[in-house]
C-alpha cells in the first residue's frame, strides 16, 4: 500500500515538473506560473541550471531533477533489493558514499571553487536520490504498522472495558 502510494506520488511529482514548461510552451502562462510557484520552496529554479523543454526551463534545477529521477529509479529497485517485507534501513556507509559526491560538488559550488556543468549536477543528485526510497518506504510503512498496532491495542483495551 505504502509502496503503491509512493510510486503514484513520485509519478505525479515528476509529471508536474514537466508540466510547467509544457504549459508555458502552450501559452498558458498563468497555469505555468502556479506550477513553477509550487516548486519554488524546494528549488532555486535558476534557468541556467535547469534542463529545458521546448525552450522553457523545467520546474526544478538539474540537481533536483536528478534527485527525483534517482528516487524513481531507487523506488523501481526497492522490491528487488529489499522485497516488500523488510523494513531494515540502509547502512550509514552506503548513505555517506552516495551523498558525498553531491555534498562535495554543492559545497565547492557555494564556495566558488568550481562551477560544475548541469550534467554533473544531475548525476550527483541522481546518485543521492537512489538511496532515498529505501529510507522513505521503510519509514512510512513502519509508521503505518505502528499506528495499526496502537489502534488495535486501544481497541483491545476498550473491548475489555474498565477493570
Amino acid at each position: 500500500m505504502v509502496y503503491a502510494a509512493t510510486v503514484a506520488g513520485t509519478v505525479l511529482w515528476l509529471a508536474a515538473i514537466l508540466l510547467a514548461p509544457w504549459l508555458a510552451g502552450r501559452g498558458a502562462d498563468g497555469a505555468a506560473r502556479i506550477v513553477y510557484a509550487v516548486f519554488a520552496p524546494v528549488c532555486h529554479q535558476d534557468p541556467q541550471r535547469c534542463f529545458a523543454l521546448g525552450g522553457h526551463p523545467l520546474a526544478v534545477c538539474g540537481r533536483c531533477l536528478g534527485i527525483y529521477m534517482g528516487f524513481a529509479a531507487g523506488l523501481a529497485l526497492t522490491p528487488f533489493v529489499r522485497g516488500f517485507s523488510r523494513l531494515a534501513l540502509p547502512r550509514g556507509r552506503i548513505f555517506a558514499v552516495l551523498i558525498l559526491p553531491m555534498a562535495l560538488d554543492g559545497v565547492a559550488g557555494v564556495l566558488g571553487l568550481w562551477r560544475s556543468p548541469i550534467g554533473v549536477r544531475f548525476v550527483t543528485g541522481f546518485a543521492w536520490g537512489t538511496i532515498l526510497p529505501f529510507y522513505f518506504v521503510a519509514g512510512v510503512a513502519d509508521l503505518v504498522l505502528i499506528r495499526r498496532r496502537r489502534r488495535s491495542g486501544r481497541g483491545l483495551e476498550k473491548s475489555q472495558g474498565p477493570t
Binding site: M1, V2, D29, I34, S85, Y135, L145, G153
Partner: protein, 176 residues
Amino acid sequence: MNKPKPEYLRPALIAGAVAGLLSGLPIIGAGNCLCCLWIVGGAAVAAKLLAAQTPGLLTAGDGAIVGALTGIFAAVVDTLVKMPFQRYNLELARRILDRFSEYGTDIPSGLEGWLDLGSGALSPGWLLLGLFFSAAVYAVMGALGGTIGVSLFGRKAIPPTPSAPPATPQGPSDAT
C-alpha cells in the same frame, strides 16, 4: 503488547521551530533549494533528540512520525517568518520596477504578473493554501529526514524479546 510510545512532540517542536526559522529567513532559506536541506536536516535532528530522550529503541516508523511532525511545525513557522519579508521583498521589487519605468526602460515581460501573483499570495486564502501545501511537502520531506536520522543516530531494529514483538517483521506485510 506494544512498546511504550515515544514522546514525539517536544523534539518535533524544537527542531521544527529552528528548521522553520531557517527556511523563512531570506538568503539562509535558500538552503531548502538543496532537497529541503533545513527540513530534512531538522527532521534528522529531531530524530536524534528523540533517540536521546527515549530509553527504548527507535524504529524507522518513529523517525518518520517525528520527522513528519517536524515538517508540519516547520511549515507553520516558515509561513509566519516569511510574511513580513514577503511584503518587504514585493515592495522593493515594485520600487525597482517604478525606477525602471522612470528611465524609460522596458520592464521584462511577466514581471508585473509575477508581482500580482505575489500580492495575491499575501491574502489570507493564499496564505492558508500555501501553508497547507508547505505542510504537505515538508511533512513528506520530514518523514524522509526523520527516518534517515533514526538510521544515523538511533539504533535500527528492536531485538526480539519474549515480551515485545520485533519491530522488523519477518513475514510479509501489506503495509509496504
